[in-house]
């Protein structure tokens, strides 16, 4: 299980930065300042260990009474996104309720995983959705250009196999992009610059976590 502490962030957009030797680096800008700890989950009380973070300042009159009570108990202002991160007990102890988790938990050059909701594409055919080749456009072919071909046999099995790839809704699903390099951390502005593209549209909320594969290799993903 992924036991890496992360942050909730807002995808601002993409740009590019220059390294000192002149290399251009494409980066996605993530605003992750203002992640506050709102609750703890402990093994004794809840059966698992996690830290609950809240992100994205929200006006008080937009919050429900239940939310207001929850944020008041933690001593933080209302936020838009609340999310739990499963962490080892030692990490939980470092982040008391009400405290802020700074973006400086990420350092330049480290690898991170970014989870977001991909852009919705609507109902799409098999060529766009599953990268099928379509059918030939010449040799007298007519009316069937973007179809997926045969979807099965005849009497045996007499049905279409479960999971046969067909057209349907595409996108708007949770996608994790693993092992992205942190190009820069601007701690005073609460910004993290991640090399490459991440899922979702601009102004969408994403989760940024230490790369789980790098952590497993370093033996740091244990409870």
């Amino acid at each position: 299980m992924n036991l890496q502490l992360g942050l909730i962030a807002k995808k601002i957009g993409m740009t590019q930065i220059f390294l000192e030797d002149g290399t251009r680096v494409p980066v996605t800008v993530l605003a992750a300042g203002g992640n506050a700890v709102t609750a703890h989950r402990t093994a004794e009380r809840d059966g698992y260990i996690a830290v609950q973070l809240a992100f994205g300042e929200k006006k008080e009159h937009r919050a429900t009474k239940a939310e207001l009570g929850h944020f008041k108990a933690a001593g933080v202002t209302p936020r838009y996104r609340v999310r739990e991160f499963r962490v080892p007990a030692a990490v939980l102890a470092q982040h008391p309720v009400g405290a802020e988790v700074p973006v400086s938990i990420f350092n330049e050059g480290e690898f991170v995983d970014v989870t977001g909701t991909s852009k919705g594409k609507g109902f799409q055919g098999v060529m766009k959705r599953h990268n099928m080749a379509g059918e030939k456009r010449t040799h007298g072919q007519h009316e069937f250009f973007r179809h997926g071909g045969s979807i099965g046999c005849r009497k045996t099995p007499g049905r279409v196999h479960l999971g046969k790839r067909m057209s349907g809704h595409m996108g708007a699903e949770t996608v994790t992009q693993q092992n992205l390099k942190v190009a820069k951390v601007l701690a005073d502005q609460g910004l993290i610059l991640v090399r490459g593209a991440i899922p979702g549209a601009n102004n969408g909320y994403v989760l940024i976590r230490h790369a789980v594969k790098a952590a497993i290799r370093a033996g740091k993903n244990k409870a």
Binding site: V29, L186, L191
Partner: protein
């Protein structure tokens, strides 16, 4: 980039080069480019005619063309690249196009561009001062 986020604008502006003089297509410029080879860095001077400026915020580039031993050579740099050590404006040219690709098909006297007399109005911030270095 009409709807650029202010956060992205501030990041891109931090890479803006204030010490680059104004130059336009048709101008003859001298580019001092940093070249690193074999772990060593040196400055290579490339002098030629600016045939294109791509104005695209932080992604702006410019193209310089010269004819070297009878062979046309064009080099492209991002305007804000740290590999561009210095740009000198040698002379202005009188042209009626923004992109001077037609020069590629011309040679000799036909590829010459008439000189334009006078400086750019914003010349005062052209020379890099001690504080810029």
């Amino acid at each position: 980039m009409s709807h650029r986020s202010p956060i992205i604008a501030s990041i891109e502006n931090s890479y803006d080069r204030k010490d680059i003089p104004e130059f336009r297509p048709g101008d003859t410029i001298r580019v001092h480019a940093r070249i690193s080879e074999g772990g060593k860095e040196r400055i290579q001077v490339f002098q030629g005619l600016c045939i294109r400026r791509r104005m695209n915020g932080a992604r702006s580039t410019f193209t310089v063309r010269k004819v070297s031993h009878g062979i046309g050579v064009e080099r492209v740099w991002p305007v804000n690249s740290p590999r561009v050590a210095k740009i000198e404006l040698l002379s202005r040219g009188r042209v009626r196009r923004a992109k001077l690709y037609y020069l590629r098909d011309l040679s000799g006297n036909a590829a010459r561009i008439r000189e334009k007399i006078g400086e750019y109005a914003t010349k005062n911030d052209v020379e890099p001062t001690e504080s810029d270095a």
